[in-house]
Symmetry: C2
Subunit: 363 residues, 2 copies
């Protein structure tokens, strides 16, 4: 069977050397050998997240880490401003609701990005707000929100800025400490080039202070215990040993390339994909396109699923359909992580053009 090129917004293809590291003979997690791995991984994660604060590591999908960021920082009835313009913004909002927070839902058409002014205005209307929930890259629409500018607003307020960067980190720049972001959440199967199963949360000093005051119930995603363990290069619960050994290799690869170079690679490939799309006479869905994926609007009469099927069956290229209301209407062409090279983007673009032509499209 031919290996598929996964141009999906996670899971992405995983480099062979990472897969091999995950398949090394098992070692026990309470040993010096594994402690040395954890020590290195925690230090490298800080570089990846551009922070000197602890980056927590959980065996979970990204949603688990999002939940932890809510249950560890807030208390019942706290006011939260949830900015959602797509499926993932909605998820963050819904988690806050599930835990009885006073959630003010701020929405926008799904093709648009929130601005710093939107956040400023919402904070003015809700000065009691304890937190702002934001998405770096909204994977359902390929919209990137201006986290840097938004952080300038939240830094001057009493509200913490929590950013779901699950699909954004590595692809779109995010400099946690420099920008003043309080919480950055990530998952393993996107820009980090790993299989799914690991989730990450970094917490600023303001966020760590909030942890000491939160009264929401939690156990597995307890941040205080997790941070305490990190200080001893340990984990609160049995870690996902094999995935962490893969993470160790992934972090080396990314940091050897250098984050500025990694971001430029994503930015360059994304720009090329967008230019090709424009040259075909097609439109982007997102008004603030992401570096990690491009959402292409299907022209009248062409249904995404039919294009995706030909790419898969005839080219072994996998792209994603739109979600919810956008199903059938957009194609999400991801260029994140290991699949973010000009070669892979070209392979994807050739498959896309062929599949579009076979669906009757003429540019």
């Amino acid at each position: 069977m031919k290996e598929h090129l996964l141009l999906t917004p996670g899971p992405t293809n995983v480099p062979k050397q990472i897969l091999e590291a995950t398949a090394l003979p098992m070692i026990h997690h309470r040993t010096k050998e594994f402690q040395a791995i954890l020590e290195r991984v925690f230090a490298d994660l800080q570089k990846l997240f551009c922070t000197k604060h602890p980056v927590m590591l959980f065996a979970a999908s990204g949603t688990g880490a999002m939940e932890g960021s809510i249950t560890n920082l807030f208390s019942k009835g706290d006011t939260i401003l949830a900015f959602s313009a797509g499926k993932w913004g909605e998820r963050y909002r819904d988690i806050a609701k599930a835990y009885g927070l006073d959630v003010k839902s701020i929405e926008k058409p799904s093709s648009e990005a929130f601005s710093a002014q939107d956040v400023e205005q919402a904070l003015k209307g809700n000065p009691q707000a304890k937190g702002v929930l934001m998405t770096l890259c909204e994977t359902s629409t390929a919209v990137t929100h201006p986290v840097k500018e938004i952080a300038q607003v939240t830094q001057k307020s009493g509200a913490l800025l929590l950013v779901d960067a699950i699909s954004g980190l590595v692809c779109d720049p995010i400099k946690m400490d420099e920008w003043g972001v309080d919480v950055v959440v990530c998952g393993s199967q996107k820009g980090m080039m790993l299989p799914p199963g690991l989730a990450f949360v970094a917490a600023s000093e303001r966020a760590q202070n909030a942890i000491t005051k939160s009264t929401l119930p939690k156990y597995y995603f307890n941040f205080a215990d997790t941070i305490k363990a990190i200080k001893k290069s340990d984990t609160a619960f049995t870690p996902a040993v094999s995935l962490i050994r893969g993470l160790d290799v992934a972090l080396k690869m990314l940091l050897n390339e250098g984050m500025e170079n990694v971001w430029k690679r994503h930015s360059d490939v994304a720009a090329w994909v967008r230019k090709e799309i424009f040259d075909m006479g097609l439109k982007l869905f997102s008004k603030a396109p992401s570096n990690g994926l491009t959402a292409i609007v299907m022209p009248e009469g062409i249904v995404s699923g039919n294009v995706i099927k030909i790419m898969r069956d005839e080219h072994s290229v996998i792209m994603a359909d739109g979600q919810g209301e956008l199903q059938g209407k957009i194609i999400r062409f991801a260029h994140m992580g290991y699949a973010c090279t000009m070669n892979d983007a070209k392979t994807g673009m050739n498959a896309f053009k062929d599949a579009m032509a076979k669906n009757g499209f003429k540019s």
Copy 2:
């Protein structure tokens, strides 16, 4: 570097064919290919858990699944009888406390097992109890509790029986439906021969009814959503694809051998280890020894850590020290999962005898 023989109570060694399956090229989780794997895995898990009810699957360590079994079945203030005679019983109890349940803690000296009478008596004293928290194999002490007899008591009561079988399942028999157990929790890195990172929960009809009434907050470990997804051979959140491909192979290996044979293998090896220990003139810590591991009491003047160090450095055999108050006083010699063969047990026993002799022990 020589590969270590992990005679620790998890993680255990992982068979090569399972490691290889976890390192296969990544596939997307919303594809027919992965759906076919999930369909098979969910069916095989039912055989392993001896149940016709759904067996849920989470990217998490076992503690996450324990937490889910509390947050999905109960509501604030519900009375819970937490039976603890060791670290893992205490963990279950502590999770229930963290979520504001009315927890009645029933304790025993850590070398002893609870009896059905203990449970019957506690239920008589607390007829309002909604749940009983029990451990199949208490990994910290190698005590196995008589879940079959206990289930006969809980079945006649209004209380659900929740069993932490994280290290017990596969090693000690547990027949969920036949015995009438309501919830069985497991983790991947013990008898199931996988790397850590997957957690499992099976829920009986009574337990599924309780799910519909529970008002405790939850999101990532939401059982209703998870069970709904299983019916479509899907998962509620991005699954740990690579570990699940390993699980697929592990389940095939175990079910090909047959659960009765798997249990007999564990029982035979455990009996042999115990006999050797007795022949050395040593004592077991547990009054109700487990099939999955043996806790050996260190004689006067010998500290576990010194014996463990020689086994590790000179024999590449890893065993575990006692936890908490038992540190230095017992050695936990595991024979679970892939390491449960007479050959591995003999290798372990030779290392143990040599290390004991080098610590001045004469049988």
